[in-house]
Every structure is written in C-alpha cells, then in structure tokens.
C-alpha cells in the first residue's frame, strides 16, 4: 500500500527549523558580542 504524505507538513517543518535556527544564531551572536564589548569597557574603567 502506498503511503500518502502531505508534503506541506515537511515544507513547514523545514522552514520553521531553518528560519528559527538562523534567527537564534543571529540573536545569540549579537547579544554575546554586545556583552563581551560591555565587559571590555568595564575592564577599561577599572
């Protein structure tokens, strides 16, 4: 018997994973950069 798959489920899962992963990476890299630069400024002031 041939299995019937709704291709849109796979497309939506792939887009959610790809977009979510990319946005999470961009947010993490931006926030960690700002935190590290703030720590450097703090160290300069000490």
């Amino acid at each position: 018997m041939r299995e019937v798959l709704d291709q849109w489920n796979f497309v939506i899962a792939a887009y959610a994973l790809g977009i979510g992963g990319t946005l999470a990476m961009v947010a993490w890299s931006w926030i960690s950069m700002r935190r590290a630069e703030a720590r450097r400024e703090e160290a300069r002031k000490k």
Partner: protein
Amino acid sequence: MHAFANPKRFLSLARWLTPLLLVSGLLLAGAALLYGLLWAPAERLQGDSVRILFLHVPTAWLAMGGWSAIAISSLVELVWRHPLASLAARASAVPGAVFTAICLATGSLWGRPAWGTWWVWDGRLTSMLVLLFLYFGYIALAQAVDREGASSRIPAIFGLVGAINIPIIHYSVIWWNSLHQPPSITAGKSAMSPEFLIPLLVATFGFSLIFGGVVLARMRALLAEIQAEARLRRKALGDSASRGRGVTA
C-alpha cells in the same frame, strides 16, 4: 590583507559592517524564502517539497564554505601569523556548524517525501554528518586550547586536516551511487529553470551575508574577551607590584 591585521582598524570596519551584513542578509534571505514558500511553483516530479531547496542548498554551500574559511584562516595563521586569522577561524565554526545542522535536518525532511526515507548512509549524507562532527570537534578543541593556554596552532592544524572532507562532500555524488541527485548548478551552467534559480541565488546571497555578519560579530566578541582579560591581568599585575613595593619600603 595585512592592512586589517591591526585590531583597531578591523574594529572600525566591523562596527558598521556587522549590522549592515546582518540586516541586509536577513531581508534578502527572508524575501527569497517567502517567495519559495508562497509563490514558487510546485515541481513536476517532487511537488511542493521542492520548496525546501531554497533553505537546503544555501545552507549546504555555506556549511562547506564555513570549513573552507576555517582552513584558509588556519593556513594564514600558520604561515603568516596574522593576528586576526585565528579569530576568523574560530568565529566561522559556530555559523558553519549551525548551517550544517540545518542542511542535514532540512535534507532529511526533504528526503522523506522525495525518497521515502529520512536517512541513507550514502557518501553525500555521511560526509555531511562527518562535517558536523568536525565542527563540534573544532569548537571543543578551540575552547580547550583557550582554557588550558595551549598553542593556537593545534586547532589550526585540525582545521587544515579537516578540509580533506570538503572535496569528498562535493564529489561524493559523482564517485559513488547515491539517492542524492548530482549537482544541478556547476560553473557557468544550470539545469534549473529561472523561476527556481533566481530566488535560490538570492537566498544564497542573503544567507552568505548573514554568515559574514555572524562571523564579524563572533570575531568582535572574541577580540573583546581577549582585550578585557589582558586589561584585568595587567591591572592585577600592577596591583601586586605596587603592594610588593609597599612591603619592601
């Protein structure tokens, strides 16, 4: 290239380039993905699952591009001792690993409706999985080297040796039998119709800008951490020296 070896010069460039690359990349990739999801036509044989192409192919190219960047930066570090080359290699590892993971996951989600299986242990899929493990190994090694204060040449050598996997990934679909299709786009030629090719190239350009923006952000973070640590160490040394003078006086 040596003109940008100076961290001050690098920072003056990276300060405005980082947000520019990230914002323009997100806009371009977002527009191409929206087109792929809503307006791209279904393919004759693969139906709607072909829309995964606009995510899968750019992330696959950038997964390989990320390790190529690590290998080139490692070579520059080993040969010319360029002060920012080690940072560039380390900064390329996380976005490279994330794009490899997205490529593998979207490929699996495309394989299920197209091939009838989530995974096969063929040359292309296996060599991409090896690339993901190489990224994990590189990240762990770079962190261990920082923690233990060992030579930064160790991850650089690992980065160069790992580059052997890149031509294996590229030629795997030619060398071995595979469910994975051979490349549709080669230098100057494409077997794709423009309605797929143009948004695919736009998505690839957008994801490349995001990759570049993340690499710059990681480089700035690593550089700031090194500078903060050096500053605190100098301060601690200065304090202990003045205490020492106080005791002897």
